[in-house]
């Protein structure tokens, strides 16, 4: 518990640094007024808007205002949507989380059996194929994989929808696209963890007790190999969301990634700031969770 509080306190300066990064980037982006008003708007109007938005204040004053608003969850109005940015971002979050969970599900059902197989039948032809496939899965850019899946399943077989969100069928291709890279990584991880564990004393003991091989593998070896997997998955939240941004673009999935790309293209900085902050907060929370879970699941780790 004490450890948890310590980590929580450490997260505060991190959030400040993030807010500083986000603010400075947008500060450097230049005058948003020119984008908000038509080009031929009178000079007085432009100046009035600048004053209303505090744009004539020095950097540090503007930053303090930014942090103050941020603490109340305000990132300013999105000029494309005409309302507060944060609710718009939060509205898109469930779609991205749905995609992420579906991808983790796909990754899990692929990687656990493959990982066990290649560890227990090490150096067999199956292991060579699985390990090779895992490297290939890491090497493939996921947006290309997505396009190839569309080509096969939507264009040639006509079996699955190309884009959008709605039914479970819409979810299949994006989930495989995003899940393959994770599956590749976890398969490698389970394999190496299992190989470690299968040489441990307690496995030998379990075997010499006459325990069935099936039980040795599933009850003793697999369970312990999954501990680091769970935490490393949580630590991968950042790259998972990164992958989701591209996957969403390929499949026109109406999540955070799609919103963000649109906002970047229209220079809607309120949305950009809110999305980056929400994502960063999400990643920090998941990392904290991973850290706590790791210590909770593995009692050998000292809580200091």
């Amino acid at each position: 518990m004490k450890y948890f509080i310590k980590r929580l306190i450490q997260a505060v300066p991190v959030l400040f640094i993030i807010s500083f990064i986000i603010f400075s980037l947008v500060y450097m982006a230049g005058d948003p007024v020119l984008l908000m008003l038509p080009e031929d708007a009178p000079q007085e109007d432009k100046q009035a808007l600048r004053e209303a938005l505090n744009l004539d204040e020095p950097f540090h004053v503007q930053y303090m205002t930014f942090v103050g608003n941020l603490m109340q969850g305000q990132f300013g109005k999105s000029f494309t949507y005409g309302q507060e940015a944060l609710p718009i971002v939060l509205e898109r979050l469930p779609a991205t989380i749905e995609l992420a969970f579906a991808a983790i599900f796909v990754a899990t059902i692929i990687s656990i059996p493959f990982g066990i197989w290649s560890a227990t039948k090490k150096d067999s032809l199956g292991d060579v194929f699985i390990s090779g496939g895992a490297v290939l899965g890491k090497a493939m850019p996921n947006f290309w994989l997505g396009i190839m899946l569309i080509l096969l399943f939507s264009v040639y077989l006509g079996a699955l929808p190309v884009s959008g969100r709605g039914t479970i069928f819409h979810l299949i291709l994006p989930a495989i696209t995003l899940g393959t890279g994770i599956a590749a990584q976890i398969t490698r991880l389970i394999r190496s963890n299992m190989l470690d564990i299968l040489h441990q004393e307690y496995i030998r003991t379990a075997r010499s007790k006459g325990l069935k091989e099936f039980l040795v593998i599933y009850k003793h070896a697999l369970r312990n190999s999954l501990i680091p997997v769970v935490t490393i998955m949580a630590l991968q939240t950042s790259s998972l969301i990164g992958g989701a941004i591209i996957t969403e673009t390929v499949f026109s999935w109406p999540g955070l990634g799609q919103l963000l790309i649109q906002a970047i293209n229209t220079r809607d900085m309120a949305i950009v700031q809110a999305s980056v902050f929400v994502v960063a907060l999400l990643v920090i929370m998941m990392n904290l969770l991973a850290d706590v879970m790791y210590r909770f699941l593995d009692p050998r780790i000292n809580l200091k």
Partner: protein
């Protein structure tokens, strides 16, 4: 959470997973040789592009748009891999695309390496509040997904080759900083560093003459694997329209063009993706090989 990964490898190190069979050793080095072969080939293609490319990659030919590859009905030997929507020769474009991929991949890794090594050395050697501040900055960078970070910055400053390299470098240094820091933390307790200190050697020399050479081997592994990640990142950014701009040719850009013609002309989006996958595969294989040679115990993961 830098501590976590180290702890995983500590748990690992006292186990006996080093007992590899002869077959797996051969398999390992075989993959290394394969990787080296692929990498050499790609480098040669990039260097010799003007001599081996059958056409000018930018030459538009409206009489020969969207020609299929030569082995497909309707294809001609003139355009081995077919042409794109503007009649440009796909093979030539892919050959020239390798230049951008390698250039961006290698130069941004150099930029990231310089920043990361410096921060890692200082952070690990001095410790205290410097370390604390730098590590919180590392945490902040870690909590923003790389692709998101680079997208936002490129969206603000506008894409160009130099910006792309600098931006990827400036957002990817974190891995180096963490690895160098953790190695320095253990190195500075060693006799030779303590001796140098007592003899009054200046910090500058301890950092660069005693500590730096000792982290080179792990750096070479991380850098190699980072080139792979960066090539995918560059392709993703170009795919999203915020990376390389025409007339420069990027594999991600060709893929993005081909996506619009996917339903009827599969080859435009397929071949650049294959080129990325093969190149990245070669680099990952070389990276894994280097890791096995330098430090078989280490558990450096490359996060894609």
């Amino acid at each position: 959470m830098p501590s976590l990964v180290n702890e995983t490898s500590n748990v690992k190190s006292f186990t006996t997973r080093k007992r590899k069979t002869l077959f797996s050793q051969i398999f390992k080095s075989r993959t290394g040789v394969l990787g080296l072969f692929i990498l050499t080939l790609v480098v040669l293609i990039a260097l010799l592009a003007p001599f081996i490319s059958p056409h000018d990659p930018a030459k538009v030919d409206i009489t020969a748009t969207l020609l299929p590859p030569s082995w497909v009905e309707g294809g001609s030997a003139e355009h081995l891999l077919g042409t794109d929507n503007m009649g440009r020769d796909l093979l030539s474009r892919i050959i020239y695309g390798s230049q951008i991929s390698l250039l961006v991949g290698i130069s941004s890794v150099v930029v990231a390496g310089l920043i990361g090594v410096l921060i890692g050395l200082v952070s690990g050697y001095y410790g205290g509040w410097i370390d604390n501040v730098l590590m919180r900055i590392v945490d902040a960078f870690l909590s923003i997904p790389n692709i998101l970070f680079t997208l936002v910055i490129l969206g603000i400053f506008g894409p160009s080759l130099i910006t792309l390299i600098l931006v990827i470098g400036a957002t990817n240094w974190v891995n180096y900083a963490r690895i160098v820091r953790s190695e320095v933390l253990s190195l500075k307790e060693r006799e030779f560093v303590k001796a140098a200190k007592t003899m009054g050697v200046r910090d500058f020399f301890i950092l660069f003459r005693h500590l730096l050479p000792n982290v080179v081997s792990s750096l070479s592994v991380v850098s190699t694997l980072s080139v792979a990640t960066t090539i995918i990142l560059e392709a993703s950014l170009s795919f999203l329209g915020l990376g390389i701009k025409p007339p420069d040719v990027s594999w991600g850009g060709i893929l993005s063009d081909g996506r619009d013609y996917l339903a009827t002309h599969w080859w435009v989006a397929t071949f650049p993706g294959l080129a990325i996958t093969i190149t990245v595969l070669g680099i990952i294989l070389v990276g894994d090989w280097l890791r096995d040679i330098f430090d078989p115990r280490s558990n450096i993961q490359n996060d894609i």
